[in-house]
């Protein structure tokens, strides 16, 4: 029986978990290896002698140097950072207030509005960018960061609202009622009691919103045209793929550097983030 339990642990736990971890981490490994691999190894034919696809003996930083000096990568990083931060803040602010109202205040059609907001989130961006392009043109916002700062909230606000609604619902109503009896107005009860308790939820919504806008591709591709306005995902793919020439080293270096801020944000808040997703408040 005990031996049976042991092989079961291997079959149902250790092996699948290992496969899962390897499968998840391999792209990152590939990204790193390709970044530091010299060009002569990168364009080495696979059936040539000494072909070593999974590691390199001559690591180099030339691709990273090229990326930072030969392209506008640092500008793209800055653009992405500004756009992602601004649209995240706007979406968090709106999502927080809307989520609170929909979960706490009694008003007609509250449920319908909540569902309606969620449905707008389900409209695919690949469809929505066509009418949005028209609006952007009419407001003369094309090729400026505002094109993205103002359009990203169209999918971030529903997302934040929905997530915050769920989180607020998990906070006992009595806490707020008690605060209101204790002498707080509804507004103060929200600021002093509800929001501090909702920090894990707010962080999760913020991280998600930030990641979504950091990685966003379609809107950035359509609404921005000049190289110095581009964001990392669009800049890297449009400037480092020229015709059928792929600058693999620089591409991977761009992907690697571009994913560092997101990875940093995740690892920094991971504990809050997990409790925000699994959401529960204990008194």
């Amino acid at each position: 029986m005990i031996e049976g339990a042991r092989w079961r642990r291997w079959v149902f736990f250790h092996t699948p978990l290992t496969l899962f971890v390897v499968g998840l981490l391999f792209p990152f490994y590939w990204m790193i290896v390709t970044t530091v691999r010299p060009d002569r190894e990168l364009y080495h034919p696979w059936n040539g002698p000494n072909y070593t696809p999974f590691w390199t003996f001559h690591p180099t930083l030339e691709h990273i140097r090229d990326l930072l000096t030969e392209t506008l990568f640092s500008t793209w990083m800055m653009n992405t950072m500004i756009i992602a931060t601004a649209s995240t803040l706007i979406s968090l602010f709106c999502g927080l207030l809307a989520g609170y109202a929909l979960s706490r205040l009694k008003f007609p059609w509250a449920g319908t509005i909540g569902t309606g907001i969620f449905i707008t989130y389900l409209v695919p961006q690949t469809l929505l960018f066509i009418p949005l392009a028209d609006i952007i043109r009419n407001f003369h916002l094309g090729d400026s960061p505002w094109a993205l700062i103002l359009t990203y909230p169209t999918f971030l606000i529903p997302f934040c609202t929905w997530l915050m609604m769920g989180y607020f619902k998990s906070i006992p109503k009595e806490l707020e009622e008690c605060a209101r009896i204790d002498g707080a107005t509804r507004w103060k009860a929200m600021i002093y009691i509800v929001f501090p308790i909702a920090v894990p939820g707010i962080l999760s919504a913020g991280i998600f919103a930030f990641t979504l806008s950091w990685n966003e591709f379609i809107y950035a591709l359509v609404f921005l045209s000049s190289p110095e306005q581009k964001t990392v995902p669009v800049g890297v793919t449009s400037e480092l793929v020229r015709g059928d020439v792929f600058y693999w080293g620089e591409l991977m270096a761009g992907a690697l550097l571009g994913s560092i801020p997101v990875a940093f944000v995740y690892s920094f808040f991971v504990e809050h983030y997990v409790s925000g997703i699994t959401g529960s408040v204990k008194g």
Partner: protein
């Protein structure tokens, strides 16, 4: 100094009429308990007093001011919730100080009041802890402390002991009683537990389906229940009921039912005279039944067959069959009865209850 007056209070949700025409006069320093089964409107009534629930119609006054439209913060009340509702992100001290901070008290005054309350409740050592580091009983004390630091005019309690285990509940019940005697603040307390209601309340309000059934001091409810519901709800084990017919024979009244034939004492004949020939509900409390001896007259006893024997130590509960109904008799621990044994139970003639079968009101 605060008296709470409730006049024709009603609460209607879309479909449900939760509170129906409630009238109550709660005197200064009084401890009033609202008790009833779940869904009887007791909590809704309390929440309307707190200002957490809008009032459909009627008035609530504290002293002579109508507070219907006042927001909760301006009513000068404090409330203790069933789940304690401690602010999880604040220390015990900050939890207790929150209400005072919101009211812009000076720091030294806040400190003084919090320490005072902490001392009364014996929670000085925990002031720096977070609520999640406390046990259920300690959390309950903090919740109480948060209420008393404000020196409010009225305390509201919404089933504050329900989340505690049985032993702690009894202990906290005693402490609440002491606390009330010490502070003398008017209190309204909601519970579904009739023992809590009886032990804590100066007066008890029994509610059912939104209606007030009876208001009175605990013994009054116990000895003179106004109707069948109160009679059955107050007291544990509950009062025994049986359907009987009132018959006039040989110049006196008799309660006659299946397995029951009792002579109604002369003192009660006035009240029951008009019921002769009618069917009524007869009620007798378990402790008013005892095993009869030879001296007991047959007309003051009922024949019963023992079904279950529950030995509680201080007494024995006999579940007996009387005709088609089951009754419980609380008898001396020395009684030696056996299951299936037939015996005679003597009734206490001064403690008979009769209720109208239609209206359920006491006769």
């Amino acid at each position: 100094m605060a008296q709470v007056t409730i006049r024709s209070l009603n609460k209607k949700y879309d479909e449900v009429h939760a509170v129906k025409d409630v009238n109550l006069d709660i005197r200064d320093k009084e401890f009033v308990v609202l008790v009833g089964p779940s869904g009887c409107g007791k909590t809704t009534t309390l929440r309307m007093v707190a200002g957490l629930e809008s009032i459909t119609s009627g008035r609530i006054l504290i002293d002579d001011t109508v507070i219907n439209e006042l927001p909760p913060m301006d009513r000068d009340i404090a409330m203790v919730f069933q789940n304690y509702a401690l602010y999880p992100h604040m220390s015990v001290y900050d939890n207790m100080a929150f209400g005072l901070k919101m009211r812009k008290f000076e720091k030294p005054e806040i400190q003084k009041r919090v320490h005072e309350a902490a001392e009364i409740l014996g929670i000085q050592e925990y002031l720096k802890r977070k609520p999640r580091q406390l046990s259920g009983g300690q959390r309950q004390r903090v919740a109480l402390g948060r209420a008393i630091v404000r020196h409010p005019r009225v305390f509201l309690f919404d089933e504050p002991l329900s989340n505690l285990d049985a032993k702690l509940r009894v202990q906290m019940r005693v402490e609440l009683k002491k606390l009330h005697e010490r502070l003398g603040t008017t209190a309204i307390y909601v519970t579904h537990d009739q023992v809590e209601a009886m032990t804590l309340g100066d007066r008890v309000v029994v509610m059912r389906d939104g209606w007030v059934q009876q208001v009175g001091d605990p013994l009054e409810l116990y000895n003179q229940p106004a109707n069948l519901f109160v009679a059955g709800f107050i007291g544990s084990p509950a009062m025994n009921f049986a359907s009987v017919r009132i018959a006039a024979e040989n110049g006196s009244l008799w309660a006659v039912g299946d397995g029951i034939r009792l002579k109604i004492p002369a003192a009660m004949t006035n009240r029951l005279g008009g019921q002769a020939g009618k069917a009524v509900t007869f009620g007798i409390r378990p402790e008013d039944l005892r095993v009869a001896n030879d001296a007991d007259p047959a007309e003051m006893s009922i024949e019963a067959a023992v079904e279950v024997i529950e030995r509680l130590g201080s007494e024995i509960l006999l579940d007996v069959a009387v005709g088609p109904t089951t009754m419980v008799a609380a008898v001396e621990p020395t009684v030696t009865a056996k299951v299936h044994e037939r015996l005679r139970l003597a009734v206490n003639p001064h403690r008979l209850h009769f209720f109208d079968t239609e209206s359920e009101a006491a006769i």
